[in-house]
């Protein structure tokens, strides 16, 4: 029998077994689905968080807030000084008045808060755009520390600090997801192994006949391996579909929201979906191999 014929036979037998014992097969498929759904969800969230970080990185600025009452001359002198640093692309001087106007434009409902206070309530600042926001050379950190120590400067706000924190959260989420999905996948492998062992037990009579008439171990075990693999693929496909459904639902329910832009701006890539499905297949196959390795069929 050619390998292709054998594989076709394995697949056909696997599908027959799946339909005959659909209840136990469903159990194995669902455990794989749950584990991959959890793993996929963490993957999706961390992917979106990291994508947001990348998007924001291009928009990050360093803001040097001056002491209240700093004169426009001081503001422009310091802005010019800041603009001369080699890592600075542009240094924009924002007067206290401009800052107040921007606040009122951004938050119209709160505009009363900054009205009628006499002096300008918001400090003047210098918005520094960096040439390469992704890089953080030691000279830049030293330069920012110098600004922090300047008497004219009240505070230095580096956007990239909280971006790094989000990156850490995303990495943490991914790690937790991998660990959680790994644990669940181990449970799924165990369940698949039990299901395959049960199926093999139910076919014990047929296996003894196959062995009697001269079937090879590959021919005897092949359908069970295929069954585990198909169960895993089905689990991976269902998990991917469920994940897509949850993603679509979130986008429909929370359009243009922070949650959507943070967690559901984009779905998993084709390669990631394929990986998820194949991971399911690999888990099912591992379960089948494990179950039959210890069994004398």
């Amino acid at each position: 029998m050619s390998l292709l014929k054998a594989l076709r036979y394995f697949l056909r037998e696997a599908l027959v077994n799946l339909f005959r014992g659909w209840k136990v097969s469903l159990l194995a498929i669902l455990t794989i689905t749950v584990s991959l759904l959890v793993g996929g969800a963490f993957l999706l969230v961390s992917r979106n968080l990291l994508a947001s970080v990348e998007r924001w990185r291009g928009e990050t600025r360093v803001v040097l807030y001056l002491q209240p009452g700093a004169s426009p001359e001081v503001l422009h002198r310091l802005a010019a000084e800041a603009g001369r640093a080699p890592w600075v692309a542009a240094a924009e001087a924002v007067t206290a008045e401009t800052a107040r106007r921007r606040f009122q434009e951004s938050f119209p409902s709160l505009s009363d808060l900054v009205e009628g206070l006499g002096d300008e309530p918001l400090p003047a600042s210098i918005e520094v755009a960096l040439r390469d926001p992704g890089r953080r050379p030691p000279e830049l950190r030293a330069w920012l520390d110098t600004w922090r120590r300047r008497p004219e400067v009240s505070m230095v706000d580096d956007d990239r600090e909280w971006l790094r924190q989000i990156e850490t959260v995303a990495a943490l989420l991914r790690g937790v997801g991998i660990a959680l999905a790994g644990g669940l996948l181990a449970a799924a492998i165990f369940t698949t192994a039990s299901v395959i062992r049960l199926t093999a037990y139910l076919h014990h009579d047929e296996i003894s006949v196959l062995r009697l008439v001269g079937a090879t171990e590959f021919y005897i075990r092949g359908p069970f391996y295929a069954e585990g693999f198909v169960q895993g693929l089905a689990g991976g496909a269902i998990a991917s579909a469920a994940l897509w459904a949850a993603y679509t639902l979130l986008r429909l329910r929370q359009p243009n929201s922070l949650v959507e832009s943070l967690l559901a701006a984009q779905f998993l890539s084709g390669a990631q979906i394929a990986f998820l499905i194949l991971l399911g297949g690999a888990a099912g196959l591992t379960g089948a191999v494990m179950s039959l390795r210890r069994e004398s069929l």
Partner: protein, 248 residues
């Protein structure tokens, strides 16, 4: 065809199933293997198709030392030996046709040739019309005939039967025995284990007698009422697959 040289088989509990058994069966012979229950008949048969291995001695089947065959080659040995059991070993959820065609399927025979082979094998045992039935819809005698058709489908060189009439009434037993004798007429070597001495006396042929694992008698006896036989038509036609072929 089958050579046993000082074969001893002991089971882990210390029980000796076979004790220095030696004999030789030539190609085309029909041999009865008899003895009381527990005499070692089944143990001897299991050694031939390498279901078990002897503790001592050598077994040659068709020139091959079966004790030293690597596990991966055992299937190829078994494809040359048809085996029939007392309990038929048919799969109840498979049709007669499916039960008979296990070996052709393993060999990758196409479905058209499988049907031809199955029809020929079932015709040979008089069950060509029951291909779509399930085993439990058949009588005991018919089930055993299906098991024989399964054993014969690829024209084995050797046919081994372990108490094939043990579950059947005398008339059916005689009918089944006739089948084995007719298969033998076509040149297949047959080794049939039975404790039915009346049947042996009636048919005649060579008889190996075991007692507590020892071969105590090896004689040719003349039958008192041998059946009239006709050589059966070939069970199979060339299907392009060899039982010895290396397959998955």
């Amino acid at each position: 065809m089958i050579h046993f040289f000082q074969v001893t088989k002991r089971y882990p509990g210390g029980q000796t199933a076979l004790d220095r058994v030696s004999f030789e069966i030539a190609r085309g012979q029909f041999v009865f293997l008899t003895g009381a229950s527990g005499a070692g008949k089944t143990s001897l048969l299991r050694l031939i198709f390498r279901e078990d291995v002897p503790n001592e001695g050598q077994i040659l089947v068709n020139g091959r030392n079966v004790s030293s065959i690597p596990p991966s080659k055992i299937p190829y040995l078994r494809r040359t030996i048809g085996v029939v059991f007392q309990d038929f070993r048919l799969i109840p959820r498979k049709t007669v046709f499916e039960n008979v065609t296990y070996l052709p399927r393993i060999l990758g025979t196409d479905s058209k040739s499988q049907k031809k082979l199955a029809y020929a094998a079932l015709r040979r045992v008089g069950l060509a019309h029951r291909g779509n039935a399930f085993p439990l819809e058949l009588s005991g005698g018919e089930q055993q005939r299906v098991a024989i058709a399964r054993a014969l489908i690829n024209e084995p060189e050797i046919l081994i039967a372990d108490e094939p009439t043990g579950n059947l009434d005398p008339d059916l037993s005689w009918e089944i025995l006739r089948l084995f004798l007719e298969v033998n007429l076509r040149g297949t070597t047959v080794l049939l284990a039975t404790h039915d001495r009346d049947m042996i006396q009636r048919v005649g042929r060579r008889v190996l007698t075991l007692d507590a694992g020892r071969l105590v008698n090896d004689q040719e006896i003349a039958g008192t009422d041998p059946p009239r036989l006709e050589a059966l038509s070939p069970a199979t036609e060339p299907a392009g697959d060899s039982a010895e072929a290396e397959t998955p």
